[in-house]
């Protein structure tokens, strides 16, 4: 239609530049450097609900970082998972371990300034024991709650060994009865209140949460007056946030990015072990009922190589469901990498590389870091000894559905978290056939675990778990792989102390000296 002259082009370019540059400068440059009193965290999970004791949110370990900023648990769990005084400054089982007594700390107040009383603690315990929540069967053991002076006691019937540990986190946070009864369930969701170190100032669901330090907190004022959690589900967004400097701390990113970011000027990083392990559920159906096949599957896997090559060294190989930081851990239980032994075991059952044993292994893809890649590597290691495993990728929702129905494939990759550090919460639940979370069904393990569930002598209980663990490892009833690490990148101006449970607690982050 019309040819372009050089002059037209230059004129148009000049006009566009004149309009464009000031236009760009119109946009506010978002905070590059944070103010001294504000801590901004690029976080991966947004709280769906503010009731910390019921619904799916109550059992989400990722949300505990946020809940513990706002609500107090009955008893505090330290970074090494040991129990420590919290709102209840004394806590103990009675002599025959039939009841627990909690002493309520004086001077604790709710965010509206009203004192937190022993009666409030009793109300919360009663709610916990009757609430239709995911862990109700456990908390239904809380019975006969009594208040005497500044103490609250309750019976544990039926007995549960880890009841004290349970009072530290998932589904166990104190909420103010006077406020909850006044505003109701929906009112509480809209304006929640607790007694923790921070109060909610503004919440934009799915986007950010702004917290303000509670001046009257019994544990002393936290280092930062304002804390912002930016909810960035996508790792790339969290990486961009920390790289640009608009967040002070970011968690969970690919290891390649972690290695790159921690060396950038002004940033540092720590990768620390958490109470989350990777494992393969074995289901004693079909070929997996053959002990030679199971044992071969275990000995054929070079976990060290997987950790080095796929996890870039940021995880720890394990041979039992208990990680080194768990109670009852026994370092002497080992299932070493031995492909020759694996081939021999398979040969005993008539399988060779040319005539391999065949089964399905299920896995998620992207649910946990490098889950699919890990399973691919395992399948290749198995192939070398005479195991042909067919990978079936499914969504995590499908895994949960199949697991509750006891319909998992002969092998299924999964991760298991246990922040109580008590073996009952991992080994007990993952291997007891009446639990909705097991794949293995065995009378021998069931009998041993049933006895341990009611054993009140702690030394005997731990010895019992060591023995069960040895039996499980010896017979290859399950295939533990490695303990996950958590990557955290933060500004060098901060002092951050890792928590074994993977919590990012703003109240424990301070300024670096």
């Amino acid at each position: 239609m019309k040819s372009v002259q050089r002059r037209d082009f230059l004129r148009a370019t000049a006009a566009a530049t004149a309009l464009g540059i000031p236009g760009l400068q119109l946009w506010p440059r978002s905070a590059i450097a944070q103010t001294a009193d504000t801590l901004t965290i690029a976080y991966n999970v947004s709280p769906p609900s503010w009731d910390p004791n019921t619904g799916p949110s109550s059992v989400s370990p990722g949300l505990s970082s946020i809940y513990r900023s706002i609500y107090d648990p009955y008893v505090v769990q330290r970074e090494d998972l040991a129990l420590a005084p919290g709102v209840c400054d004394q806590f103990a089982w009675n002599a025959d371990k039939s009841a627990i007594t909690l002493r309520v700390r004086k001077g604790v107040t709710w965010h509206d300034g009203r004192p937190l009383s022993p009666g409030d603690v009793a109300w919360n315990l009663n709610r916990l024991s009757t609430l239709p929540a995911p862990l109700q069967a456990i908390f239904a053991s809380i019975k006969n709650i009594k208040v005497a002076g500044d103490t609250v006691s309750f019976d544990v019937t039926p007995w549960r060994a880890n009841m004290l540990e349970r009072l530290t986190f998932l589904g166990c946070y104190l909420i103010p009865p006077h406020y909850y009864e006044k505003v109701g369930k929906e009112g509480f969701e809209k304006a929640p209140m607790g007694s923790g170190p921070y109060m909610i100032e503004q919440f934009e669901r799915g986007s950010f949460l702004r917290l303000r330090a509670y001046e009257g907190y019994w544990g002393g004022a936290p280092a930062f007056k304002t804390v912002v959690f930016k909810f960035a589900t996508d790792a790339a967004t969290r990486i961009a946030e920390i790289e640009r400097g608009s967040s002070d701390l970011a968690i969970d990113m690919p290891w390649e990015e972690f290695d790159r970011l921690k060396t950038r000027p002004g940033l540092t990083g720590v990768a620390h072990p958490t109470t989350d392990i990777a494992m393969i559920f074995l289901h004693n159906v079909g070929v997996m009922a053959d002990p030679n096949v199971r044992k071969a599957a275990v000995h054929a896997i070079d976990k060290k190589l997987i950790v080095e090559r796929i996890q870039r060294g940021y995880s720890r190989p394990i041979d039992t469901l208990l990680a080194p930081q768990y109670r009852g851990y026994d370092a002497s239980i080992a299932t070493p990498y031995d492909p020759k032994l694996a081939a021999e075991l398979l040969a005993k059952s008539g399988y060779t590389r040319d005539k391999p044993v065949e089964f399905t292994i299920q896995t998620t893809r992207g649910y946990k870091p490098k889950d699919y890649e890990t399973v691919q590597a395992i399948v290749e290691m198995w192939r070398r000894v005479g195991i042909k495993a067919n990978i079936e990728v499914y969504e995590i929702a499908k895994h949960f559905e199949l697991r509750t129905q006891h319909k998992l494939a002969p092998a299924a990759f999964y991760n298991w978290g246990n922040s109580t550090a008590d073996p009952e919460s991992s080994l007990g639940s993952a291997m007891f056939s009446k639990s909705p979370h097991t794949s293995w069904k065995g009378a021998e393990v069931d009998a041993a675990l049933s006895a341990l569930f009611i054993e009140k002598d702690d030394a005997k209980r731990m010895a019992g778990y060591r023995a069960v663990n040895a039996t499980i490892a010896e017979n290859a009833y399950i295939l533990p792989l490695f303990q996950f690490y958590q990557p955290v990148v933060y500004k060098t101006s901060l002092a951050y102390k890792p928590h074994l449970a993977g919590f990012i607690l703003p109240q424990s982050i301070t300024r670096a000296r």
């Binding site: 239609m1 769906p48 799916p56 369930k185 608009s246 929702a397 909705p436």
Partner: protein, 334 residues
């Protein structure tokens, strides 16, 4: 569109909505993923599973659940979200404005830039500008919106920190809004500084969504314009001595507009429902972000609620597009 036609369209929406409700309800119950299995932790017992199933009404037959659901739906009760523990309708209507604002800004950008590119390519047909426009269109179309989002973050939020990376508003700003239409409200209130900040947050997600659409609009409009430009009445306009620019904008454009309007309307509908990935990447608190969470948690009432509201919105937008179409094309005013 006559009032009778409009009424007929609205009445037709009722069986459509019923069909949507049936399909969504049945589909959600046959696809893998049990919401109770998703929420129980390692230590939960079979009794916990049964109790939770009962408390959410999932122990009843699918037919029984559907009858109950339909009964609630006709009363305007969309149920309570399993994961968010709030009224579903309230949640959906609370998030929808954020997505509508994002979609509106994206579509405005798409139309503006798409029109500019199409007009430029037609005006300078056969020149290198047309080739440049075609090249831009090809690149914009070849890269999916989530990748654009990543590239834009890298370029304009990290390397050149011109725009915020995430969110809808600066987390440190203490502003109380009366409505959920933040941008609109800030403009109405005359708070232009706030409006500028909100636009800053909208910029990168809106551009990510707009880029592929700019290319589509530019291509369709350019093609329509090129068809019109060879018609006799354009020749007549040239003979009359009208300038090239006037012929293009006043004579050709109105007649080439119809397919683009239809396309833009359809894409606006897709934009409203298709912002999930972009909202997730930019941590933008819209309905797509909420839908992702609902799907991850198998929050059946919330997924159903979002789908029903989307379906209703799509029907209403379709009717609106048809009305616009009739306004532009006099032959359709019957």
């Amino acid at each position: 569109m006559s009032p009778a036609t409009l009424l007929r369209r609205l009445l037709l929406a009722v069986p459509t909505m019923f069909g949507v409700a049936v399909v969504v309800f049945v589909l959600l119950r046959v696809v893998p993923g049990d919401p109770i299995a998703m929420m129980i932790p390692g230590e939960a017992t079979p009794e916990d599973v049964a109790r939770l199933r009962e408390s959410y009404g999932l122990d009843k037959s699918i037919l029984h659940q559907f009858v109950l659901y339909l009964g609630q739906l006709v009363q305007g009760d969309f149920g309570v979200s399993i994961s968010l523990k709030q009224d579903v309708l309230e949640l959906v209507l609370g998030r929808l404005p954020a997505t509508l604002e994002l979609a509106f800004v994206a579509i405005t950008l798409s139309v503006t830039c798409g029109f500019a590119l199409a007009l430029a390519a037609t005006f300078w047909t056969g020149s290198w500008i047309e080739s440049v426009v075609d090249g831009i269109n090809s690149i914009a179309l070849a890269i999916p919106e989530f990748l654009w989002a990543m590239l834009l973050i890298l370029a304009f939020a990290v390397l050149m920190p011109l725009f915020p990376i995430s969110g809808r508003i600066d987390p440190m700003r203490a502003t109380a809004f009366t409505t959920q239409f933040y941008l609109l409200e800030s403009i109405v209130r005359g708070e232009f500084g706030l409006a500028r900040e909100l636009l800053g947050h909208l910029a990168l997600p809106a551009i990510s969504l707009a880029l592929p659409l700019i290319a589509v609009i530019a291509r369709v409009l350019k093609s329509s314009l090129q068809e019109v430009m060879v018609q006799d009445y354009i020749l007549l306009a040239r003979v009359k001595g009208f300038s090239d620019l006037r012929i293009l904008t006043r004579e050709a454009l109105p007649n080439a507009l119809l397919p683009t309007i239809t396309l833009t309307g359809v894409h606006f509908i897709f934009l409203v429902g298709g912002t999930v990935l972009v909202e997730l990447i930019f941590a933008y608190p819209g309905i797509g972000n909420m839908l992702f969470g609902a799907a991850s948690n198998r929050d059946l009432p919330l997924i159903q609620g979002v789908t029903i509201v989307f379906a209703l919105l799509f029907i209403l937008l379709n009717i609106a597009i048809e009305m616009t179409y009739a306004l532009v094309n006099p032959r359709l005013r019957r």
